[in-house]
Amino acid sequence: MIVERPADLRRKKILAHGFLIIFLALIMFPFLMVVSISFREGNFTTGTLWPSNPTLEHWYLAFGLDYTRDDGTVVVPPYPVLLWMWNSIKIGLIAGIGVLALSTISAYAFSRIRIRGKAALLDSLFLIQMFPTTLALVAIYAIFDALGGVTPVMGLDSHTALIVIYLSGVTLHIWTIKGYFDSIDTALDKAAAIDGATPWQTFRFIFLPLAVPIMSVVFVLAFIGFINDYAVASVLIRSESNMTLAVGSRLYLNEFKYLWGDFAAAAILSGLPITVVFLIAQRYLVSGLSEGAVKG
């Protein structure tokens, strides 16, 4: 480690680089394949990994445009990818803001305000957060099926219903933000209290501005989580025009209607924005992930 012969070091370096490069080649294979498939003709394997006659057909369809082939046949988009994307983004944004508001204010309360039975509340919150919404799918279906009989706004196949149930994601994020608030010096809020600020004013004018970084982390994490949800959305959403990306994308690889090429283009189109956001924010996101997980 500290005393190493140059020859040994060299051998080790070559080994490490070699291993990483082979490993990366394996890891990157699916990505490279999808890019190649999205430019390939047709929806089935043509026998080559590299597209021999590159075509933009799948990309036209992914953007919802008709494509005219060389022989004059017009292909229409199989599914409304952009509409699904808009549904996903809309639901993710609204539910994300809701979760952010709920978890920030709860985290402040858990971190700073003296309430009887707080320790017990925190413990039960920790235990309850391990129960994912996906376990209560039967109940969620039954509840919204019944509420739909009262008003379709809260029924099956409604975005409002989906957003409302996504608010259950709040528990995980309370921990992340609370960990952050716990690390803020208590001298700050004492000074504010001496100046006559109410806890609400302390929260609004001192903690909220300080929490902007962690709040953006939580928002992005919550947003990505909602975009990625398949189980809840697949149970609640029925009609094709109301589907989110996660539910809709599955239709492409149906046994009876296998649209491999069209899927590849749609997957890149819908996956790229989220991937880019994640990579840009990754350093903060990662710290948010482990902070929230470790701080008890």
């Binding site: 309430i115 376990l135 039967v138 809020d189 990625n228 296998y258 482990s290």
Partner: protein, 512 residues
């Protein structure tokens, strides 16, 4: 907690706007509760009522100032997590399924609305235009109806003898009005009711079932008396034959009895359970070891291009999971997939990834490792930094190989803080519904089972299929099995809680 702020309700300005606000919100919630109660959903009504009371007390009274901050979060957790969990458990004690979907009143309504057309009274009809509305003309009987709209809702009209009207619609245009026609009831001068019985005919329809009294139906076909059986949720004749559809009733422990005693349910469930444990354990071990190994390599200061490697290595984590899983579904496809294309070209192999149970399981683990190792790698990189460098140096000076240093110094130091995260990862994979549903849907099926159970099904996907995929939609049975999953998850959750406490205690005790 010394960090807590003393909460003294400081009155600043008038509290009138707040009280008006609170009153308004409470009124809206109370109105919602009333509507739900009137719509025969008393349970949901009670929840809204409780919410209204909570808002009123916490935000109305000054002495609960501190609770105002905690109320929204706690209410959300209670309504969106605790309530669905409890409701699932409750459903486990009912016979809720596609056969017993409705409540009692709706069931009676569905049964009595059924009818059979009497062929003797069947006769053709025409639709005549009458201003903005229409009239129905029955040429055989020479009867003309009073004006009708033929809109969306149900309609009734009386018939009277008349001359044939002049302005009759073409049959094609009459068919376009069939929604309105189907909800129309015509009454003949002698009091018989006629309804639309086919595309071109009206007939008198005798209802299949007639309400005889409370909980009693008379079947018109054979005159049998059917009794509502609230133990099974069906109307039954004297021999006990059920008439579907039924309604939802509490059936006590019947679902649990089925789970534990019916061989056709218990045997596949046990196999699914064992595979769930294997799947979750193997996923955690694989992602952890791959992630840790990569983190150790990336941590080596002599290595160049570390940040590039790091970015590329976390790519699988950055791409939305549902997209990656579906990409793998396509790549692994037996006939059109690129993986078999390569394997075939290189080794002449063409494994059947989706129809062979063991291969499907291997595929799931490969995909899940691919998806999960970056998370472990990122966490491991953080924990590795907290291992003191001088411990490692001291060991190296003593002549320990780097492998030995890793296993005796590094690993024991990072396992304790890692443990809660590993348990959480186990819990996540125990319920990794998205992966199973998008990649294999639990297929291939285990042969010879009463309920559909697949060789790659985990408990969560097993119940999902039981409730939402199968034709029988057995919500009640699925709820019962979910209760069993809850027990397991609660145990894992408690274990995690203990591990977390230990980790926190360790860090708290360490001088920094």
């Amino acid at each position: 907690m010394s960090a807590a702020v003393d909460v003294t309700p400081v009155q600043q300005g008038s509290s009138l706007p707040r009280l008006v606000m609170v009153t308004l919100i409470c009124l809206v919630l109370l109105f919602g509760a009333f509507v739900l109660y009137m719509a025969a959903q008393p349970l949901f009504g009670v929840i809204l009522l409780a919410l209204a009371v909570g808002v009123g007390i916490v935000f109305g009274a000054n002495r609960f100032y501190g609770a105002r901050f905690i109320f929204p979060g706690v209410a959300a957790v209670l309504i969106f997590i605790a309530f669905p969990v409890l409701y699932t458990i409750y459903l486990g004690f009912t016979n809720y399924s596609s056969f017993n979907l409705l409540n009692y009143d709706r069931t009676v309504a569905v049964l009595t609305s059924r009818g059979t057309a009497d062929p003797a009274t069947e006769q053709p009809f025409n639709v005549a235009r009458d201003g903005d509305g229409y009239r129905i003309w029955l040429p055989q009987a020479g009867l003309l109806s009073s004006p009708v709209e033929l809109g969306e809702g149900a309609e009734a009209a009386s018939l009277a003898p008349a001359e044939a009207p002049a302005d009759l619609l073409e049959p094609r245009d009459a068919i376009a009005l069939r929604t309105g026609l189907q909800s129309l009831t015509l009454t003949t001068p002698d009091g018989a009711a006629l309804v639309n019985s086919g595309l071109r005919t009206f007939a008198s329809v005798t209802p299949e079932f007639v309400v005889e009294g409370d909980g009693l139906l008379r079947r018109s076909a054979d005159g049998a008396l059917l009794t509502a059986n609230n133990a099974t949720g069906f109307f039954e004749d004297e021999a006990g034959n059920r008439v579907p559809p039924g309604w939802r009733v509490n059936i006590g422990l019947a679902n649990f009895e089925r789970v534990f005693t019916s061989e056709g349910v218990r045997a596949p469930m046990l196999r699914v359970f064992v595979w769930t444990i294997i799947f979750a354990t193997a996923s955690v071990l694989l992602t952890f070891s791959v992630g840790l190994a990569l983190a150790v390599i990336l941590q080596w200061e002599h290595l160049r291009f570390r940040s590039i490697y790091r970015i590329l290595l976390i790519l699988p984590y950055a791409v939305p999971g549902f997209i990656s899983i579906l990409v793998f579904r396509g790549l692994f496809n037996q006939t059109f997939g690129e993986i078999n294309l390569i394997l075939n070209a290189l080794f002449g192999l063409s494994p059947s990834w989706f129809t062979d149970g063991s291969l499907a399981r291997v595929m799931l683990l490969i995909v899940n490792t691919w998806l999960g190792y970056p998370y472990m790698m990122l966490l491991a990189m953080g924990f590795l930094q907290s291992v003191p460098e001088d411990h490692k140096k001291a060991a190296a000076l003593e002549g320990a190989s780097s492998t030995r240093v890793f296993f005796t110094i590094t690993l024991p130091q990072i396992i304790p803080p890692f443990l809660p995260l590993l348990i959480a990862a186990f819990a996540f994979n125990f319920n990794n519904l998205v992966l199973i549903l998008l990649l294999t849907r639990g297929l291939p099926d285990i042969p010879g089972t009463v309920i559909p159970a697949g060789q790659t099904d985990i408990l969560a996907s097993f119940t999902y299929r039981m409730a939402f995929n199968d034709s029988a939609q057995q919500f009640g049975l699925a709820g019962a099995i979910t209760l069993l999953i809850f027990v397991v998850v609660a145990a894992i959750s408690y274990l995690n809680f203990v591990a977390m406490r230990r980790a926190a205690g360790r860090r708290g005790g360490k001088p920094t």
